[in-house]
Symmetry: D2
Subunit: 390 residues, 4 copies
């Protein structure tokens, strides 16, 4: 590790933030089974309390995304104040287009104009939440699609989608933006209506400057080179946010960096190469994961640490040496410069960072020692645990 890369790396890492999803603190599972866990949060307030623990120990997770209607409350000013009291703030607002019976055959793309209208209006509600909480990111994951060839007209669905998005876009305040997500498959299994980054980009270009693409690392075909897409969207100025997680097969929603830490490093390398790790880049680094088997708060802590480690490695790439090796045409030399950074054990560097911030060098262990988990398991008795359905 070259000494003069350490100092700027520490500085950059100190400025990095990762947004947490409120739903990571509720129960989740597969279509086969949702396994409940003791101590799981029962309302948005408790979710924020759990999320604040992640920030408390990592110092890097000061925002929490909400999901509407899962996080519906009577008073959003109060929820935002609760967040502030806990040392965090409300991040992106996620709309939900997949849990109404009406949406079985589509929401923003539905053949019936009345259903589309309801789906559009749901975003008006989300924008109200944004205004009340100070959020500026409206995240739209369109779950629409079809299961069978012929089920609906693919082209008309695109046209309806464009029309619905135009209406939502028109509601945005000047400081708001749409984050438009794509997904390869699920919950539909023949054709998703926004299956790839190209489709998401095409709609964003049509909408205007306040529309950008969200890249969920689990939403691609097998073998897709994700860092290439990251690079391309940054080049086009349209990468709005990440949904970080891991996959081996489908949208597995595992802990980011647990399935392929080298891929996460390569993604962060493209980010760092274009300076998009800096807060002013406007790229929102969010987690979007399920913790079906593992505990929720440790799972989020581990995830934040994994992103930090990948970022630290990317910051330690000797870019001058890399550029020189690339220019030389010596393929292995250039590859080796990159691999040197990846092979570095950055845990001491991050420990140093945390200690300089008054934190424990090992957030995972610190949380385990804190007794918080035992306390919530003891105290959160009764009530309805949060989950995707609530």
């Amino acid at each position: 590790m070259t000494t003069d890369l350490r100092t700027p790396a520490l500085s950059a890492l100190a400025g990095q933030t990762i947004e947490l999803p409120s739903w990571a603190f509720g129960n989740s599972g597969t279509r086969f089974k949702v396994f409940g866990q003791a101590g799981v949060a029962r309302d948005p307030y408790e979710k924020l309390e759990d999320a604040a623990q992640v920030h408390k120990h990592t110092g890097a997770a000061p925002r929490v995304s909400l999901h509407i209607p899962w996080d519906l409350v009577d008073d959003y000013a109060k929820l935002a104040a609760h967040a502030r009291d806990l040392g965090v703030q409300i991040g992106a607002i996620n709309s939900n287009l997949f849990q109404d019976d009406e949406y079985k055959l589509g929401s923003l793309t539905h053949a019936d104009a009345a259903v589309r209208r309801r789906a559009v209006e749901h975003h008006a509600q989300c924008i109200e939440v944004m205004r009340a909480t100070g959020s500026t990111d409206l995240k739209i994951w369109l779950p629409d699609g079809t299961n069978y060839p012929g089920q609906d007209d693919l082209r008309e669905r695109q046209d309806r989608l464009a029309d619905s998005l135009r209406q939502i876009y028109a509601m945005l305040d000047a400081d708001m933006r749409i984050l438009l997500e794509y997904k390869f498959f699920e919950p539909y299994f023949y054709a998703m209506d926004i299956p790839d980054w190209g489709t998401s980009l095409v709609h964003c270009l049509e909408l205007g400057e306040q529309a950008t693409v969200v890249l969920d690392t689990g939403h691609h075909a097998p073998g897709t080179n994700i860092e290439f897409i990251v690079m391309q969207l940054l080049r086009l100025g349209r990468l709005g946010a990440f949904d970080f997680n891991s996959r081996n097969y489908a949208d597995d929603d595992l802990i980011v960096g647990s399935a392929d830490p080298f891929q996460l490093f390569r993604i962060m390398n493209e980010i760092v190469a274009q300076g998009a790790h800096r807060p002013e880049s406007g790229v929102n680094f969010m987690l979007d994961q399920c913790h079906n088997l593992e505990k929720k708060i440790p799972g989020q802590i581990r995830s934040v640490m994994n992103v930090q480690e990948a970022t630290a490695k990317a910051l330690l790439v000797d870019r001058e040496a890399l550029a020189a090796a690339q220019r030389s045409g010596e393929v292995l030399d250039a590859h080796s410069v990159l691999m040197d950074a990846f092979s570095t054990d950055v845990r001491p560097l991050l420990g140093e960072l945390r200690e300089s911030q008054g934190l424990d060098a090992d957030p995972y262990a610190a949380f385990a020692r804190s007794g918080y988990q035992q306390r919530i398991e003891r105290e959160r008795v009764g009530g309805q645990q949060a989950g995707w359905g609530a």
Copy 2:
């Protein structure tokens, strides 16, 4: 279509049967949402009534698989008699190893011997149901697996699995067999404990002659040549059954033949080439699908028709001409013989078969006209609709 292929094809088709899954008549969905449908069956008796409709109109679906505990009743002799009254019978009995909280980290493979014991004993219960209903097929889909590298010891899990299976095998009556299913992924996303046909076969070989492999057409890695596996398992005498359905991406559980009818044809072609379409082959052709969007009974009728059409095409392959072309080394000529059968419109042939059996040539239309769907939507009010959880 060569005349002398038609007659034996009609005869073979008349003998073909396809087993229906009771759970196809309950609600199902994705992890995101289960959309309910009017008229859905509320108990095993109503599921059998719906299944009997499929047999009534197709004449080819005389058996119904049960799933324990979804189909738990007090009196299985009564349920079997109900089936007989409806013109059908009980088929394979499916055990359930994925819905107990105890099974979160495994069932037959769990590190804790007490959990494994419970999972083994569940099969004793299933075998009791088999004795009561006359079923001889015990179908075991092992949903066990892990989500993270290191979560558990892969080797020890195999050894525990082998031990659990031995205990179950020892409980079988002489006329019973185990159908052991494999699955590429889901509900676990790092390593399934029976991920491929090789693993299933290895366990079957260790168990003995009464253990055979179930091939679910949706349980393979992308690009897998499924008909090759069919051929190999037949060659080894270890293909016990099919779980038919369709996939584009994961275990999508779409209607068989809806995603790739040519694949279904190629599968049936290997079946017919080795004579395994004949009832005496012992291969049980079962459906295992979800109908998340489409209606349940028409979905099953369509599925049975799709299997019949693929079988009919396979029966129309001119095997003498095929063998001659294969021997000639003329690649395209051989391919063309196969494609000629696939290009044939076999709907008239199947219509003829059905009319010769006193059925309507078009079961799908006949059911739609029958008024049954309207009747159950009207009459099945109140109660709890069946689903994966009940």
Copy 3:
């Protein structure tokens, strides 16, 4: 088959043309082995003669793509006249960016400006061939990419590519267009520089109206819904051409329609739904295949027939019934309308079409009877058989 769909289908089929690749008449193979065949063409003139046989028997293949420098000749006016004498004409001109030692690390994207300049200038040569032959389509498949992370800067490669393409675009005559192809992987295995339709589209949008996307059916990630991309590019007015072939695994370059005839039908269904099968749509339907094992001319004939059959089925979709079923929300009914067309045996309809054009109903058999294959095997002795290297 509804009677009133037959007549317009016949009319549309009569107007459909499929372009043949000159290289399909030379030897090809895998990295492991190129198996030679008796009678293979030895120069561009002989390739045109073989291609003309495909048109002679199908009546649907009146154009031949050239590949430069594989089809370099001294006098292109003479070559074009030779084509006309044979009843065909020159189609798209393909540039070659993958066989110069200089291009090992890139061509239009190479770090060295001198290499990029040579690659750009190669297109000036291709445009000269276009002017001499009357071709208006310049097809660019960019084989550039990298094998190892870090090997080169992905972003800079995009910027260099954009610059190179701008220079080529500036050379086009007003009636010419660029067809820009994308490919998931191969011949590089970490990152291709145009890996997906999104990247190709982004460059086309930047270039202007004379730049359109080529969709090669074998150039996608596993599971990609290709007909969705077809629909989207048509919607955006940027689908310039197809490279038809089949794949099971990678860019297998098998005969179109041989791996998944239902996929080919779904693609043609999107084409027909948007009227893009009509010559005036400007979509160029080209084959791009290898015949490693099968004979070259029969392989092309079979391919043309397969595209015709898929088109015929798409033309027989009862679009009124389909739209009505789609509007009804009855998923299976809508799917069934589509499947009815696919299940139809259209070989008689195409036989009728051919006979009305004075052709044999079965082009494959007619060619086999013609003695042409035996003649070229006898006469083409000596010389160097054409292949990818010549």
Copy 4:
């Protein structure tokens, strides 16, 4: 890193050996282009000289696999002596079943008994080479397969294969074994005759104890969990050897550990967990890669280093802590134990090992400084560079 894991790790690493393929020192490429490199070996003797350089600098690569007929020489005793003089020895002998025109439609599976006989006899020749060189491993990669459904009878091909293998097996000396390789696809694109580990295992079981499976890390379907297969084959006592390399898409044959170093670690973790890293396990760890762009000798050095690093990390897994965490059911704790080892920078440990062996801590740099590359580029002028065809 726990101190008491370092010492046994160093000891185990000192005993680890990796076999090099002679063909890695000749030219290779894709079907599109083989880029030649200055200084490439021109005969088996020069290949051994290059391979010996890898061993000289890593101390871990004392064997070289030969490929027949690529490495045909007049006097194998002389070649083996040449190897010994260079400090290395001859490893596995690879047969070649893909470069004869006769093998276009199959070799050991060919419909024509005369072709099969020739293919079997080729192995008699390979066994002669084994006797002359002291090799005991006969590696058979069966490239046979078909491109089109119907092209040949899949079942008959299996039966012919079993018969051919029996004949080869019967020729083995008592101390010899067959290493039988499987491959998902390529050079055939519909059905390979040994496409998966299950098929390879089935044939090995039929043959007897002297037949074992070779696992090539690039020969699987997308998403396949390779370490699971490693575990299963070890459990069954049938893992004979590895062909190490990397893939992102197909059989990319990139440098092992360059595409997914975490996967390589997980594989070595299963190896170490069952003690199969020890020489007495009989598992032969071989490289099988192409160096299309990068230099050959540095590419092999890097590959050996990558395997060593993955092995070192696997040896540093705290297996007691891992087992305890696994027993506790704390999913993340168990995962963390594994990840701690992966996160460790083992380059210093390996540097220490090498220095204790009198080697340079950095073999890659040491080779670069040695001047060997410059010397062969200067001296190897004229002659025919080795490649897959020679």
